[in-house]
Symmetry: C2
Subunit: 219 residues, 2 copies
DNA sequence: ATTAATTAAAGAAATATTTCCTTAATAGCG
DNA sequence: CGCTATTAAGGAAATATTTCTTTAATTAAT
């Protein structure tokens, strides 16, 4: 409507994007129970959200539901996985194999996170040469050699906060386009690099504040 | 304006709440550099956000900035910590001492997460009796005994998805008011219980989708 | 002291997101 | 076979959030 150039699809909003994996996980459970079709109101009741919200959110996948029947579970799961990129092999490098880094490495051995960590890097000699499952911990310097050959687009940073900016720049120079940043450091990178900050402090902040609010209401 | 009852302060919005720890971390770095006063535009420039946004967000703490000077760093940090509850000892139980649970336990040994895990619980006999730092892993059954004595308000769930609902209900029955849920399970609990879902899938979803979007623009 | 520049605060406007409402489709039922 | 209840879709309204504007305060410079 406003811009003349075509194929500029409006970017899907973050709140919607954040809800999509929740639908996906719910639908997977539902499919296991052998349910073929499910309606938006049913999804909404289970996930405690508005049914119109559900309809609008799911519409981004392009899947159409049938009135009086709902959505085809199988079809919807596939469309969501496809839309979110969970069914592709999104290869990633992980830097910093400490507590959190190891947990992430161990995790993806069992369950799919939507991302496949193909190598991990650390500067600590005690870590280098070890492995978690099939993922080997390599010398940090090797990042540059490997990046040339493998065309890895995603970097995960689980180093101490102090070195995060340097690591991020290195990753970027190795061709990484998206960085999943678990440190508290605010990364200063060109806008074209996608930075996903996952700071646990934000979750704690919201939770503690709500807890505090609720205690005030009670008295 | 609409409700007659007083002292019903409007709940601070989630986006704002999520930004507050980011300011806090930034200000701590700034304080280390010996900076006494800092203005909203300066904060905005560093954190790449609008300065009015900064002013509005920080206003929730009640701290006033001085024109031409900005905010007092020290005062602001304290106010933020106080508002978010980070300076109180928010004692918590952790249930499920696997990869992620252990990482969280190890983490808070070094850095403050705003929460103090005082005990961890597991059903796996191999885990029971072990400890991470000062935090002991106890038999899950002991949760009920301990909860009576200690007046713990926060529970952290890092168990497999399948048992999360049961664990959540147990925690609730032990007097826990807020649950930090790392599993993909959508917990079905009374509204008075505060549930903070921290699913890594949501972060991955947003990141992968944005990456996909950016690749489309490039071609 | 006076002026100019910077800044927070408060309110207005714009934008984004959610909720509501209407419409059309359709499966199940009588 | 037609009716009814349910439902998705699309648009409108309401709400929430962010950005823009104006104002007043205050400090630093002259
Ligand atoms: N562990 C958690 O539960 C947790 C929770 C929230 C946030 N975090 C954040 O995640 C980050 C990591 O936390 P952690 O507990 O895993 O820390 P950690 O100290 O256990 O691990 C950091 C790892 O990074 C490595 N490293 C240091 N400098 C490096 C460099 N220049 N290049 C490559 N590797 C390097 C270290 O050798 C170490 O193995 C921190 O920013 C922390 O704030 C962790
Ligand atoms: N590890 C990660 O990086 C990661 C990332 C994202 C999400 N998660 C989620 O976090 C949860 C835990 O993941 P994980 O990798 O740590 O799993 P894990 O299997 O390593 O750990 C689970 C722990 O829970 C214990 N447990 C099982 N049943 C229990 C019960 N009824 N009561 C108490 N304890 C019980 C197990 O003995 C085990 O120690 C999962 O829901 C997972 O989806 C983990």
């Amino acid at each position: 409507m406003n811009s003349s150039k075509s194929n500029i699809k409006k970017q899907v909003s973050e709140p919607t994007l954040r809800r999509l994996p929740v639908y996906l996980y719910f639908l997977e459970k539902v499919r296991e129970d052998g349910i073929i079709n499910i309606s938006a109101p049913t999804i909404g009741k289970n996930l405690k959200c508005d049914s119109t919200q559900v309809v609008k959110d799911l519409a981004v996948t392009g899947i159409k539901g049938k009135p009086r029947v709902g959505y085809n579970t199988y079809e919807l799961i596939h469309a969501l996985e496809d839309y979110l990129g969970f069914n592709r092999t999104n290869e990633a490098f992980l830097v910093g194999t400490g507590n959190l880094g190891s947990a992430l490495m161990a995790y993806q051995e069992n369950q799919s996170l939507g991302i496949k960590i193909i190598a991990a890097f650390d500067t600590n000699e005690k870590k280098i040469g070890t492995h978690v499952g099939n993922i080997h911990v390599l010398e940090y310097k090797k990042l540059f050699h490997l990046a040339e050959r493998l065309n890895v687009k995603i970097g995960i940073i689980t180093t101490p906060n102090e070195v995060a900016q340097d690591v991020a720049e290195d990753l970027m120079n190795c061709g990484v386009k998206a960085i999943w940043n678990f440190t508290a450091t605010i990364l200063d990178l060109p806008g074209k690099i996608i930075v996903q900050n996952t700071s646990l402090s934000t979750s704690v902040a919201v939770m503690l504040r709500r807890l505090n609010d609720s205690e005030k209401i009670t008295n």
